[in-house]
Amino acid sequence: MNANQLDVAVDEQLSNKARWVWEETLKLHRRAQETRVASSLSPIEIFVVLYYGGFLRQDPRNPRWDGRDRCIISKGHGSLCMYPILADLGYFPMDELEKVCQEGSFLGGIPDPVIPGYETINGSLGHGAGVGAGMALALKRRGTDQTVYVVTGDGELHEGANWEAFMFAAQHRLDNLVVIVDNNQICMLGPTDEIVSHSDLAKKFQAFGWGVRGVSDGHSVVALSEALLECQRDESGKPQAIIANTRKGNRVPGLENAPLSHVTAIKLDLIDQLLGEGQ
């Protein structure tokens, strides 16, 4: 994607896709109520822009294609929304979505790289940045122009290993590493600020030697696209962070920004009602 493509049509196309992914995510949650749906509704637009917006070079028919850009979905529990995206793109058949969390399915409540399109183990938080930094270093040593994207959550950034990785990435000028923070600002037991506050996350990244871009509305496909484009254009040599302010449980009444939404299931009749409104 380039700046000229950020026109109304692209906005509409990506927004429609995000809306479809939102609906499909609710359908998955209807089938498997144990899934972490609130955490999976906040990063939808981030993934849609990456996967449909032309940022991620990929070959769904050959998920481990050498020439691909890497996307590490570090907040694995909050990526139920990736299942319809990967199926829609052709990583696996759409009918697999019907089997989510069922015996014999590879689509579990927390995804692992048995799912075509997933790169790493994602169930335990705080690993993506370090593994991504290693991949970014390797790709640089190989002399390729590929980018490693890591999607993480703000709660996940409590894990100290992230900050070891952030120091490392800056030290080695891994400008092919982009960390996108799904900054929904809610952990499992309440607002991040009330648990252990990140204070000013942008300043922290800056202090660690990163280029930082804030996206005030992380559900705006245009704003996210612009931030990703700016990362592509950046010539500072620094690794890049995008802090996208999002809403946990986005657009679900009673769930959106609810402090204890993390393991809350959406009642089936509400899902029906929401999907009815959306169809």
């Binding site: 048995v114 790493t120 690993h127 370090g130 290693g134 390797a138 040593r141 490392f168 080695h172």
Partner: protein
């Protein structure tokens, strides 16, 4: 076996790193990552392979994660740090990004841990390492190599490069006597028989192989012949061959420089013997389960925790006396043993 020149006496890490340095000169796909832990040999790697040498700083969690990332991109990685830190500071990273990930992605990451057992004698229990065999062998897909001398250590890089998967190389920090000066052991077996004995075999790993040889000499002076086997591949030794070798013995004595009875080599042998239905009694020699802050020479510390030459000799003597088959025919020799000990 292949014949070799008698080597210059060095620490295990130095012979291993020299081999690895030679391999890195030939193979651009080898990466070396250290957690700010050095060796004179590292200077050669850093000087001659600067693009494939990375110091992550004192950050073992990141050491493992970066190594996993490099390996996912096809590099064969050697990660290097002090043994307790590279195994336990970053255990979850090893579990998730090496043991678990290697089930679904092909990666070759080799953890070089220096400082097995008490080898950092004066540094105390933070730097000493008695739990690593237990925690690493708990993880499926991990292999453990525990060399007893610099020659086996030197052969490890080639072994590790030849097969994918995560591995832990448990190295002693001290310069130890060379055991394999004339010939390197057969790596496919995973063990080497130093001595044949009559009723009991000492099955030791790492530094404890040296202790076992001394114990065997001491017992031999009393007229008692025990076998000594160095088990250096703890996860994929030839089970059939070892069983054949142990078939002539009535008792086996495991010897490890790690906690006894907490899931280390002794537990591995319990499983092995039970699983294969072997008719053999077992005695386990290991650090009696407590941390110690006392200072002293390694052999003195070993005696305090029950794994020194005198302590092991006494325990083996008692073990032999308790073997029912030995009650009559060893009466004389055990009496003699008691007097001499």
């Amino acid at each position: 076996m292949s014949t070799m020149q008698p080597p210059q006496v060095r620490a295990m890490r130095d012979t291993l790193l020299l081999s690895l340095y030679q391999a890195m000169l030939q193979d651009d796909d080898i990466f070396f990552v250290t957690a700010d832990f050095g060796s004179p040999v590292l200077d050669k790697i850093r000087a001659d392979c600067p693009k494939r040498f990375i110091n992550v700083g004192i950050a073992e969690q990141n050491l493992i994660n970066v190594s996993a990332g490099l390996a996912l991109e096809g590099f064969k990685v050697f990660a290097y740090a002090i043994a307790p830190f590279i195994t336990m500071r970053c255990y979850e990273q090893i579990r998730v990004n090496l043991a678990l990930l290697s089930k679904v992605r092909s990666i070759n990451v080799n953890l070089i841990g220096v400082g097995a057992g008490y080898s950092y004698v004066v540094s105390g229990p933070t730097h000493q390492c008695y739990e690593d065999l237990t925690v690493i062998r708990a993880l499926p897909n991990m292999r453990i190599f525990s060399p007893a001398d610099q020659v086996v250590a030197a052969s490890l890089p080639a072994k590790c490069l030849a097969s994918n998967g995560p591995k832990y190389l448990r190295l002693d920090a001290q310069v130890l006597p060379v055991l394999y000066g004339a010939a390197a052991p057969d790596f496919d077996l995973g063990f080497y028989e130093h001595k044949q004995g009559e009723k009991v075999c000492l099955l030791a790993t790492g530094y404890m192989v040296h202790t076992a040889l001394k114990v065997a000499d001491k017992l031999a002076a009393s007229g008692v012949s025990v076998g000594v086997i160095d088990l250096f591949d703890l996860c994929s030794f030839s089970e059939d061959q070892l069983q054949s070798m142990l078939a002539s013995y009535q008792g086996v004595v495991t010897m490890e420089e790690g906690f006894r009875g907490r899931g280390g080599m002794d537990a591995m042998m319990f499983d092995y013997i039970a699983r294969r239905g072997m008719d053999i009694r077992m005695l386990n020699i290991g650090v009696e389960g407590e941390y110690h802050f006392e200072l002293g020479e390694r052999n003195v510390l070993h005696e305090k925790v029950g794994i020194g030459v005198a302590a092991v000799t006494e325990k083996v003597g008692r073990f032999m006396r308790a073997l029912p088959e030995l009650k009559s025919d060893l009466l004389m020799s055990t009496k003699k043993l008691t007097v001499k000990l």
